[in-house]
């Protein structure tokens, strides 16, 4: 079973993240780039499925040159090879354009399953997996807390407000995973060394058959018109508990009419 894992490089949550005042898109130079956290769970799940069912795991990322670091990370966890969709024309693409571009890039790879994290920690739209299924015309098995493949059938537990739905589909399909699905492995020294030799194919928009008029900030269906730092919250009151901390908190809640 061949699996493609989608990976995104995002600004490190621990650093200060910024937008660029040139075109209101993410300022990638302002903070360190790291692999999107939930993507590590997607890689882990793909590796677990490969260990069980055989086949190959290919990493696909769309992003600027520096996204190669996230590809290395994925390869050093154990993925076999990678495709890097990189083109200036893609700069500033919104979530739907990203899904469109990825759907085209997936046309260059053989796969039975596409696995991705349910959202990225930067834009957090949570729509790419669903939009990708729409563009590809494949079953949408998203928000999975558990994935099982049996022959040509795939079954997931899809997280809901009330618990989960058991959802079934035939391969090929698009699966997105949530954090509880597994515990991502740490790359071993041996794998890190091997990763350096694994093949990484660079793909331009033309190579992938992407219509350049459908991607990039100028042609995005959405536009960020302005941004500003959030107004700071007014400083609150902090008291030390002298045996009456709970009572004081209750007074605050009463003032605010919560009790």
């Amino acid at each position: 079973m061949n699996i493609v894992v989608l990976v995104k490089q995002v600004p490190d949550t621990a650093t200060e993240r910024k937008l660029s005042s040139d075109d209101n898109t993410l300022d990638r130079a302002a903070s360190d780039g790291v692999i999107n956290e939930l993507d590590e769970y997607a890689i882990e799940e793909a590796l677990l499925l490969k260990e069980k069912h055989g086949g190959e795991v290919t990493v696909l990322t769309m992003g600027p040159d520096q996204a190669a670091d996230s590809i290395r990370k994925a390869l050093s966890m154990g993925a076999d090879k990678a495709v890097h969709l990189v083109d200036d024309a893609l700069h500033g693409s919104d979530a739907l354009q990203t899904a469109y571009a990825l759907s085209k890039a997936l046309g260059t790879v053989e796969f039975d399953l596409v696995v991705l994290g349910s959202e990225s920690t930067d834009a957090r739209t949570g729509v790419v997996g669903a939009a990708l299924a729409e563009y590809l015309g494949l079953p949408q098995l998203t928000l999975a807390g558990k994935v099982d493949v049996d022959g040509s059938a795939v079954r997931i537990q899809r997280a809901t407000d009330y618990g989960y739905d058991v959802v079934e589909a035939q391969l090929p399909a698009v699966v997105s995973v949530i954090e509880k699905i597994n515990e991502p492995r740490y790359p071993s020294f041996k794998l890190i060394m091997q990763a350096k030799k694994k093949p990484v194919e660079k793909l331009s928009t033309a190579d992938a058959g992407i219509d350049a008029g459908q991607v990039g900030v100028a042609d995005a269906g959405t536009e960020t018109t302005d941004f500003a730092p959030a107004p700071p919250r007014a400083a609150g009151t902090v008291v030390k508990d002298e045996g009456d901390g709970g009572a004081k908190a209750a007074e605050f809640l009463a003032e605010k009419k919560f009790v």
Binding site: R17, A95, L96, G163, E168, K240
Partner: protein, 314 residues
């Protein structure tokens, strides 16, 4: 006035609060028209009328048998047929997916996790863990917008809420992912986390899987219970209650953080709460930068006292 489609969230005919918020927002833009999937529209109708829905388009419960795709087909079809000005949904994980697919079908654009929206369809977002406010719009086509619960205060306004069959059938293409079983996990009587007006969350400071001190305070306030990632990762509380960057985003009127340091990952899930109360042993904990009221102390003594005081005042 153009219709604004609002996808109704309901549980067996009972309309959720977020839908009344969406109807309120829809009235700024045009004439609200509710879209009801499944049974119970007759019983839910009164609530929709109370918040200004002029129409209620209904579709069969069969749409819920498949993941997301049939709902997107329904919304895209109605948006085209009715020349809708916009489509609004609640920013739940599932509805964000519905929004994304609907926008692809409409060839328009999607805005998710919106915290406010104007009559001219300018949407406000709170991004990067609440550090930055952005405004965005959809450039062309019918905007599809997912609005975060508890963001737009619901205000009543009478509407006709006239029921009309949408007349949609699930296409073959939308049946790829079939729901074969629904599993309901422990929920109890507490309100749902993302909808709750008050949320009480516990973190590392709770110290064990005994969350009773958090739950007791939550119950005294009629609140939902949340948990930080540290607590969930330690196996102290189930995953679906996790608040933060990789969990749920909440925006209640009151958020009480017990034993939560307030790392950026957590703040991303609760920073737009209107009032924040924090209890933490560490006076340097970043949660105190956000707190309207903070108590430096052990939650195991502060929270029970607070619970007792609340009970006394009832």
């Amino acid at each position: 006035m153009a219709e604004v489609l609002v996808l109704v969230d309901h549980v067996d005919g009972e309309v959720k609060k977020v839908t009344t918020e969406l109807l309120t927002a829809a009235r700024r833009i045009g004439e609200p028209a509710a879209v009801w999937v499944g049974d119970g529209a007759e019983s839910g109708k009164a609530k929709l009328a109370e918040f200004g829905a002029e129409k209620v388009y209904t579709a069969s419960a069969e749409l819920n048998d498949y993941v997301v795709a049939p709902k997107a087909e329904l919304l895209a079809m109605l948006a085209g047929e009715k020349s809708a000005a916009a489509v609004l949904v609640s920013a739940t994980p599932e509805n964000k997916e519905v929004a994304g697919r609907t926008a692809v079908k409409l060839g328009s654009g999607v805005l998710t996790d919106v915290v406010d929206i104007t009559g001219e369809l300018v949407a406000e977002h709170s991004v990067f863990g609440g550090a930055t406010i952005t405004h965005a719009r959809v450039r062309s086509g019918v905007p599809v917008v997912a609005v975060r619960p508890n963001s737009v205060p619901a205000e009543p306004a009478a509407g006709a809420a006239e029921l009309e069959e949408a007349g949609v059938e699930v296409s073959e293409a939308a049946t790829g992912a079939k729901v074969v079983e629904r599993v309901v996990q422990e929920k109890g009587a507490r309100p749902e986390l993302t909808e709750a007006a008050i949320v009480v969350s516990g973190g590392r400071g709770v110290g064990s899987d005994d969350f009773s001190v958090v739950e007791a305070l939550a119950d005294s306030l009629g609140a939902a219970v949340g948990a930080s990632r540290a607590a969930v990762d330690s196996g102290w509380y189930p995953n679906q209650f996790q608040v933060g960057q990789t969990g749920k985003t909440v925006s209640p009127n009151l958020y009480v953080a017990l034993g939560i340091s307030g790392a950026i990952q957590h703040r991303a899930g609760m920073q737009t709460s209107k009032n924040i109360v924090a209890v933490n042993k560490d006076p340097e904990a970043p949660i105190f930068e956000l707190a309207d009221f903070g108590v430096v102390g052990d939650l195991h003594s502060v929270a029970p006292q607070l619970t007792e005081e609340i009970e006394k005042r009832k």
